[in-house]
């Protein structure tokens, strides 16, 4: 076994050298369209990782296919640009084999919710130590403008010229349906919020799922502008903060309350602040968080951002490793000669 495979355990002990954004930027020219929301996500990440005192050699970005999936090429870390939809699967094998690494998974809405939907929900179900960022722009960009599984019903695209027939997935609802232990949403117009959210994902043990609302200025321009633009944000984004009443609006005049039919938006003055829901991201039953995820029916109505859910649950790869260690503690390390003689044998 090489030194690298043995070295993982010492990570905490060693001093982490200070780094800057430049240290985390690769020498490759960034090739997203000018004005793409992906740029600000990349910047947020490159600014955050030095703050986290992360190690570049211990950081791996795994991506699938799509515009978002080019992300690893621009990070001066280890990285693999895999195939369409399969990033969570490849990352799962890596995280199981190498628990010492910080593994980030990057993909778009088509990559992770269409062709790779199965891998996403199973990674979330297992609660394996991955930070999964889904850049949701509600369109297929790299293939030049077909509807995606998050495109709104009625959407006119090249592959739905008279309007999209099917209803979209809500990525947060999907993740909560898979009982992900960490589920959050942020958007590409607010670097600080992105950094705060990515930091929480990084610190979470287990699968951390973050939906990043991201503008595709070429094929779906402004799809989130009704909620994320600076001048509308206060009224249209509902910031979730653990332990705080869920309020929004320029005067915090709106709130969220639990009604018999689920979570609803209320006028605080009418209902009274004492009846506004206090956000608790640690509720084990995912139903409350799910209810919150259903407030926004379209990107044109008030939409919650922040951490919907963050609970502790056994992490998959360490549980798998623990089984191996238990067996080895019990039986000792395997001996090949003994294995070959483990069935009935006879001498000639």
């Amino acid at each position: 076994m090489t030194d690298v495979l043995d070295a993982g355990a010492n990570r905490e002990a060693d001093e982490v050298p200070a780094t800057t954004r430049a240290d985390w930027s690769s020498d490759q020219e960034v090739r997203w369209c000018p004005g793409c929301g992906d740029y600000s996500i990349l910047t947020a990440m490159q600014l955050l990782l030095p703050e986290l005192k992360a190690r570049r050699e211990k950081t791996v970005f795994i991506s699938g296919i799509g515009c978002a999936a080019r992300f690893p090429y621009y990070m001066n870390t280890y990285g693999v640009h895999t195939i369409h939809g399969r990033a969570p699967a490849v990352a799962t094998g890596l995280a199981m084999a190498r628990p010492d690494l910080d593994v980030w998974v990057i993909g778009g809405d088509g990559d992770m919710l269409s062709i790779g939907g199965n891998h996403l929900i199973h990674a979330l179900r297992r609660n394996i130590n991955l930070n999964i960022l889904l850049f949701n722009n509600q369109i297929y960009g790299l293939t030049k403008g077909q509807f995606s599984p998050t495109s709104q019903k009625g959407k006119v695209t090249k592959s739905s010229p008279v309007g999209l027939v099917a209803r979209p997935f809500n990525p947060i609802s999907v993740a909560l349906g898979a009982e992900a232990t960490f589920v959050a949403r942020t958007h590409d117009m607010d670097r600080q919020h992105m950094q705060d959210t990515f930091r929480r994902a990084y610190e979470h043990e287990g699968s951390a799922f973050v939906e990043v609302l991201q503008n595709c200025n070429v094929f779906n321009d402004g799809v989130f502008s009704t909620i994320t633009k600076k001048d509308v944000r206060d009224d249209m984004l509902i910031e979730l903060n653990h332990g705080q009443p869920i309020l929004f609006g320029s005067e915090k005049q709106y709130g969220v309350a639990l009604a018999p039919e689920g979570v609803v938006i209320v006028d605080v003055a009418k209902l009274g602040i004492e009846n506004v829901m206090v956000h608790d991201e640690t509720i084990r039953n995912p139903s409350t968080a799910f209810s919150l995820s259903r407030i926004a029916k379209t990107p044109a109505t008030p939409t919650p951002i922040g951490v919907f859910r963050a609970i502790d649950r056994d992490e998959f790869s360490s549980s798998v490793a623990a089984q191996i260690q238990e067996v080895q503690a019990q039986l000792g390390k395997g001996d090949l000669g003994d294995l070959l003689r483990s069935q009935p044998t006879w001498e000639v």
């Binding site: 030194d3 050699e57 094998g93 044998t345």
Partner: protein, 629 residues
């Protein structure tokens, strides 16, 4: 029958040199277990042997019907054998359906041992008989031994307090006891096995023991003495032996490869017949640090194996043909990433779901060409159950030392069939030397050290720097990359260079020369691959014993092919390729070497018998003799 030996108390049984027995019954009758115990007893007695388990795809097809017949054929001998036999000498038929379905396999004049109790109206009807074959002429020309096995088993269990319904389930042990007596098998191993297997179910153990003893005693009391024979020990090479099936051998080979390379074994797999037993077996061996990952689907299984391999594990995925089809894109990624990966294909009848529990070897073209783009991978094929151990190590060795996915082909026949295996000495197994990059390998224009992930060595292999290695951070991906730097490149010239490099580095992997078994000066060369080795070898031995000349080359490495193969093929007048497909290797040989290789095809879900190949060879030799030289 030449002489007699002392083969048990008060028994002077004549010796025969070999016997082929076929146990056949309903899926619920425990025929696989019965065959397996008979095989183990024979192996420990010292016979050479080969087995052919055959069972339906349904776990419990309707009881008593032809669809539900499960059979186990075992060939035991006092000399070296290579197949489970052409036609059984003895058919054990536990019900009418088993008789109806398997009677045609029996040699003329062979022995039928049947469970008389089941030959009644209801079971006869289920098997589609409009009469009782015991009473008609159906069995004329055979020796028929009718035994009321169900009744005798229930009688034997009566005093134990076993319910008749439960006692009925022990009748396979009655059959095993009777056959053990007829072939003078040692009985201790079977009785010990019952003890251990049913340790926590004393009543079941007692019933099985009583049924076994009753069957054993029946031979004596029913005066079947004239039927009793012994098959003496085979002169096997000295050593320690175990009876091994292909899937177990393959699993152990993967564990061995992990030990020999010092890399942890990571198996990503999804349940599929007939490969699942490898997942089962490896899941049991956590003491070797083996990680098994039952993925959500075939694609995730190979994806995870690629991820683990990238992290420095020995990444393996095991499946059957339909799974290989699903993994194709990910295998192409591993080709492009130039990462080690072992893909094991336990072939079965296709296309689509096909014959999941039956054997076929029709995935060679898929292994060779079943990915988009020019996507070459080394391909290996195991030839016997025990050989699966060696080939698993060889597949891992090529994958790890040449940084490439490798496809290892086995099939349902090898997977479930078993043979005695002389255990290798662990110390004799060659280590697999894996080198990971830890330092810069290039200098940039500013004179600083940099790491180029696609800078090639003399064998055209690239360096692997594992994540976690300080300073060597780099990005790889499925997009075409520039040779050397590994940076994304759409350059036409670079793509052509990379296509050629990927082809050349696989084509130049050294593989052992093909060796000729038989007569170098024969007119006819038989070329085989995979599990046809046993049947071809058996056929070639018979033909040469009869005084005719024939040669045999068996390919274990199918890509690249042995360097001497072209010259070998061209040095014979005719080349015949027996294959369990419509001619996939023969087509490759024709394309590669412009030789008129003819296929001998069989696609019946069953392996070739030596007799079938012997017949085809004799026909061809007759024609060649007629043509003159």
């Amino acid at each position: 029958m030449t002489d007699t030996v002392d083969a048990g108390p008060a028994a002077e049984a004549p010796a025969v040199d070999e016997v082929i027995i076929r146990f056949a019954g309903d899926s619920g009758d425990g025929m696989q277990l019965t065959g397996d115990r008979f095989t183990t007893a024979s192996a420990m007695f010292g016979n050479d042997l080969a087995t052919l388990p055959e069972y339906p795809a349904e776990i419990r097809a309707p009881a008593g019907t032809m669809a539900g017949v499960s059979a186990f054929q075992v060939h035991i001998s006092d000399h070296d054998i290579t197949t489970p036999g052409d036609a059984p000498d003895v058919l054990v038929a536990m019900n009418p359906a088993a008789l109806k379905s398997d009677l045609h396999t029996l040699v003329p004049g062979g022995t039928i041992i049947l469970n008389r109790d089941t030959f009644e109206e209801r079971n006869l009807a289920k098997a589609g008989y409009d009469h009782n074959p015991i009473d008609g002429d159906d069995l004329a020309g055979y020796q028929v031994i009718e035994v009321p096995m169900t009744t005798l088993t229930k009688d034997a269990c009566k005093e134990l307090g076993v319910k008749p319904r439960d006692a009925d389930r022990s009748k396979n042990f009655f059959a095993l006891g009777l056959l053990s007596w007829m072939y003078s098998r040692p009985i201790e191993a079977t009785l010990d096995w019952i003890e251990v297997k049913f340790a926590d179910r004393e009543l079941v153990a007692a019933a099985n023991r009583a049924a076994f003893n009753a069957g054993h005693a029946y031979g004596e009391t029913a005066e079947l003495g004239s039927q009793r024979v012994v098959v003496r020990k085979a002169p096997l090479e000295p050593g320690t032996y175990t009876n091994i099936n292909g899937n177990t051998a393959l699993s152990w080979g993967l564990v061995a490869a992990s030990q020999l390379s010092g890399l942890p074994l990571f198996l990503g797999s999804y349940p599929i017949t007939p490969a699942t037993d490898i997942l089962h077996e490896l899941s049991k061996h956590k003491e070797f640090g083996v990680t098994t990952f039952q993925a959500e689907d075939e694609i995730a299984a190979v994806g995870a194996a690629i991820g683990a391999s990238y992290g420095g594990s020995l990444g393996v995925t095991t499946t059957s043909g339909p799974g290989v089809a699903l993994k194709g894109e990910a295998m192409g990624l591993a080709v492009s990433l130039e990462l080690p990966l072992v893909v094991v294909d336990i072939q079965r009848g296709g296309p689509s779901t096909g014959l999941p529990t039956k054997t076929e070897a029709a995935d060679l073209m898929m292994a060779m060409y079943g990915r988009h783009g020019e996507s070459p991978v080394p391909i290996l094929a195991a030839r016997t159950p025990a050989d699966c151990f060696n080939m698993a190590i060889e597949a891992a060795r090529i994958a790890l030392t040449h940084q490439t996915p490798v496809i290892l082909l086995s099939d349902g026949y090898l997977a479930n069939g078993s043979e005695p295996w002389r255990l290798p000495e662990v110390a004799d197994l060659a280590s697999i030397d894996v080198v990971h990059a830890t330092e810069f390998n290039q200098t940039n224009e500013d004179g600083e050290g940099v790491f180029w992930p696609y800078l090639r060595d003399e064998n055209l292999n690239r360096p692997l720097a594992l994540p976690g290695t300080p300073d060597l951070m780099h990005r790889i991906g499925g997009i075409e990359k520039e040779d050397g730097t590994g940076n994304v490149s759409y350059s036409a010239e670079n793509h052509e260079l990379m296509v050629h490099l990927r082809h050349k580095r696989i084509a130049s992997i050294p593989v052992p020369d093909a060796e000729v078994d038989g007569d170098a000066d024969a007119d006819l060369l038989i070329v085989g691959w995979g599990s046809t080795w046993g049947a071809i070898t058996g056929a070639v031995r018979r033909i040469r014993t009869a005084g005719r000349k024939v040669a045999h080359v068996h390919l274990t490495h199918l890509n690249p092919l042995p360097a001497n193969l072209g010259d070998l093929l061209r040095s014979y007048r005719r080349v015949m390729v027996p294959e369990m497909n419509l001619g996939q290797l023969s087509r490759i040989l024709r394309a590669e070497f412009l030789v008129d290789a003819e296929v001998l095809s069989k696609v019946k879900g069953q392996p070739f018998t030596a007799g079938e190949i012997q017949h085809a060879i004799n026909q061809r030799l007759d024609e060649l003799a007629g043509e003159g030289s």
